[in-house]
Amino acid sequence: MNQEPPETTTPGQERNPTMVSVKDVSKTYAGAGATEALRNVSIEVREGEFLVILGPSGAGKSTLMRCINRLVEPTSGSIIVDGREVTSRRRELRAVRRQVGMVFQQFNLVKRLSVLMNVLSGRLAYHTLWRSLIYSFNKEDKRIAIECLARVNMEHKTFQRADTLSGGEQQRVAIARALAQQPKVILADEPVASLDPKIARQVLTYLKQIAGELGITVLCNLHQVEYAREYAERVVGLSRGAVVFDGPSGKLTDDILQQIYYRDSEAGDDDDV
């Protein structure tokens, strides 16, 4: 792995400090047709920022996110989260992952468990194994869990089983689970791709509020340009594993969109999930 020394000199800027720093990250999936999923991607994300990573499916958005919390091991490059280099050393990795919540396209709740239990799962990294063996959580954990559910207006379903909820409700519970980690960063990987537009906007609004009100850095993968325009302050355009745009969403011109979607699909097209 590439051992880049961490930044010692922070440029004197009035803006919030950098929370996530991705530096020259590349990822090549080994195998028959060795595919280059990421090519020298570098992104700096500030504290409390709501960043949309935009690109068609297969652009490497998911891989980039999974490199940040090491669900995927990058081939080269370095990633720093809150001043700490992300490594694959187990103990340190768990400490970083605790700071980084994740929200998925398919919600990934444990369907047979209650809403509360799913949200409490977000607290596991704060617990010893012995406590987990008897499925026990303390009062403070439960208070945090309910508070997180209230933030996404789901506290009235606390004791329902997750599989009784609609898709939008499940995603809100999944957001509460990520919040229960009390993270500094939330990675949302296509969080609205399985939801209809009305519910999608609701979920995106919650995510944006989380960034604005709690100061949590939110990285959100999207493939729909309209949502990016509507919600993002800043957009990073990813195409074939490389950053082709990094700027305010207002500057997303048709030219740039064509570059992101490499001309073989219409801009604003949201058919491929």
């Binding site: 799962s121 194994l129 990675l187």
Partner: protein
């Protein structure tokens, strides 16, 4: 709507011929003689005729070993799960990354499974003496191999999404197993446990033949002494137990979903 039918091709005919050939080969090996079986039916009928009327008073004597059979099945299955579950976790591809560990776990399960409970019972009777205890351990060994494999397969077929989600929270390996994997497979685990408990009760009825407790000892003794009216009572008791367990497990399974 018309569904297009698949056409017979040469390789289909070859497979079919090979299948029939295999069955014929096995039939030869097992000395299948349907005519002799048919002509032997009256003899079997004679055995059953000797069973009526069942000597109901014998029930007073056999209820104790009958209950003992259930004890053996209960503890045999508890042991089986205690041994089988950890081995199943170690054998599951999506949980245990190291192929060498999986191989050892799988081989152990295969070994436990390939030795039948009757053979295990002979070993344990030799080791700890006659009685239901060696029977329970014997059942536990064989069923650990069976349940461990079933548990491993159930865990391999779960939705990987929640597992990834909990890994992402920073939860440890065992925490992920407890909170993302076990809840998903619990209904299947319960189904397997109940089914193999029922099978265990039936198995435990023969363990007595080698002195490992249960109703099997009485069963074999009555047959050897040509006390078929007593045999009838034992068979009815076994039938009754299995029926009750079947109803009970259906009830429990309908509650866990």
């Amino acid at each position: 709507m018309l569904v297009e039918r698949k056409k017979w091709r040469l390789h289909h005919i070859v497979y079919l011929a090979a299948g029939i050939g295999f069955l014929a080969w096995c039939a030869d090996g097992t000395n299948l003689r349907p005519t002799e079986l048919a002509s032997g039916i009256p003899k079997i009928a004679k055995y059953f005729a000797l069973m009526v009327p069942p000597k109901w008073s014998f029930a007073e004597i056999v209820w104790k070993p009958a209950i003992e059979t259930v004890y053996i099945a209960v503890w045999g299955n508890v042991l089986a799960s205690l041994i089988g579950l950890p081995l199943g976790v170690l054998a599951a591809r999506n949980i245990t990354r190291l192929a060498s560990v999986r191989f050892v776990a799988k081989s152990t399960l295969n070994l436990l499974r390939s030795i039948s409970e009757l053979i295990w019972a002979i070993f344990f009777v030799a080791a700890v003496g006659l009685g239901p205890f060696p029977g329970a351990v014997a059942l536990g060994m064989n069923y650990a191999g069976i349940l461990g494999r079933l548990y491993a397969e159930a865990m391999e077929n779960i939705d990987p999404g929640p597992v990834e989600a909990l890994q992402a929270t920073g939860a440890g390996r065992i925490q992920v197993i407890l909170f993302a994997i076990f809840p998903q497979v619990l209904p299947q685990f319960v189904t397997y446990m109940l089914y193999w408990f029922e099978v265990g009760v039936r198995s435990a009825t023969v363990l007595g033949m080698v002195g490992a407790g249960g109703i099997g000892f009485e069963l074999v003794t009555t047959i050897k002494l040509f006390e078929f009216r007593e045999t009838a009572v034992i068979l009815l008791v076994i039938f009754g137990m299995v029926t009750i367990i079947d109803y009970a497990s259906t009830l429990i399974r309908s509650r866990i979903y």
